[in-house]
Point group: C2
DNA sequence: AATACTGTACCGCCCGGTCGGCACCGTCCG
DNA sequence: CGGACGGTGCCGACCGGGCGGTACAGTATT
């Protein structure tokens, strides 16, 4: 059920439709995510969409799965690009979260809306989130990991919903702070202690 | 326009309907927020709802306004109950956010979904958020305020969407941490340093 | 009897989902 | 070598239900 057993030569249609669905969500929010809209956007007919996704829920599910997979992949990628020290995964998480608030993220945010009314669909996402934090906290004290994790999540959410009270400069400053706080030793036994002087000119290590 | 010019003797009807609307959202998510559902829940007819709220958008708007107002009031209340030291407002914010994840909050979360597709409705909320942080950061260094603010917001969001990887014990621990970090002096010049010895720290698994 | 609402039948629209059809393509048989 | 055949991938008209919104008759309170 995850994929059609006979996706012989044509996985591209599905992908195109998922792209279209994302575009629709991006432009009009989750409320505008209509089978007709997706079809129109993908340049196919509604029947075509229904052929690939027997139900709208299937479409939603596929979208969520793809987003989670993308996210997982991106995080792995960023992690791999960092030196293997404690807090590496946590740092990668921060970097990945603020990477650009790109398309995937904005779609995720909008989708969360839809999913919120649909606990069943949300479950796999919750599972992913859960496992994610467990990995982040592997090589870092719990409170440090949690603090950075929560603050990052908060920042991400706020930016996403455009509720953020920060300007670009402040946001950059906060991201630097979070990255410092992901360093090993930045938090000890219930104390969070972000290393580094405040706004260093642009000195960056 | 905030209230009907002829809300002579009956503001209670409106309130009852708003309560009903909240209940509906709570039970079935924002997607189930239907005029008929609200009417049924409030024990009135659909016409009754339409009489008080000429359009569904008006209903949404009223809900949002009431929630914001409640939140504002609750925060003021908690603030007043704290000694007047720096960080008081910030601390109140943390306390208020984790107060109980009560009805208001859960409704807010669900509504955010609906609002996400409706940027116009979201604007006043954004404004409120904005002003809120400004006040929180008044008597506390920026990075400290922002850190506590974001982490709290992250925690709130995660709990709300039931995506939180934390159990009750961990959550309580984190709340204590956040409260300590809202204390004056807990963060200095780019360093966050939550005071206090953690009772346990039981190592990590 | 007027005011201030309530109850309900109804409308039009939109959306998810169905269904019969069709074009294309490889295969098999004469 | 070609034409009938089946099946895969897609089309698009259609349906039923649910929704927001309207119209209007009813009712209680003053």
């Amino acid at each position: 059920m995850a994929d059609k057993p006979k996706a012989r030569g044509r996985p591209s249609s599905r992908e195109a439709m998922l792209d279209a669905a994302q575009a629709v969500v991006l432009e009009g929010g989750a409320g505008k995510l209509t089978l007709d809209a997706v079809a129109r956007r993908a340049g196919v007919s509604k029947g075509g969409v229904m052929y690939n996704f027997p139900t709208k829920e299937a479409l939603l599910k596929a979208m969520v799965e793809r987003l989670v997979e993308h996210n997982r992949h991106a995080h792995a990628q960023v992690t791999a690009s960092l030196p293997d020290r404690p807090g590496r995964s946590l740092k990668a998480y921060v970097m990945n979260s603020v990477r650009a608030l790109d398309v995937d993220d904005r779609v995720s945010g909008a989708l969360l809306a839809a999913l919120n009314s649909d606990r069943a669909l949300l479950a796999p996402v919750a599972e992913y989130f859960n496992g994610r934090f467990a990995r982040l906290a592997q090589d870092v004290p719990f409170e440090q990991a949690a603090l950075v994790y929560l603050a990052t999540e908060g920042l991400w959410t706020q930016e996403l919903l455009q509720l953020s009270p920060f300007n670009a400069r402040q946001r950059a400053q906060l991201v630097r702070m979070l990255l410092r706080m992901a360093e090993p030793g930045a938090v000890t036994a219930g104390k969070a202690a972000a290393q580094g002087k405040t706004v260093r000119k642009k000195g960056k290590s």
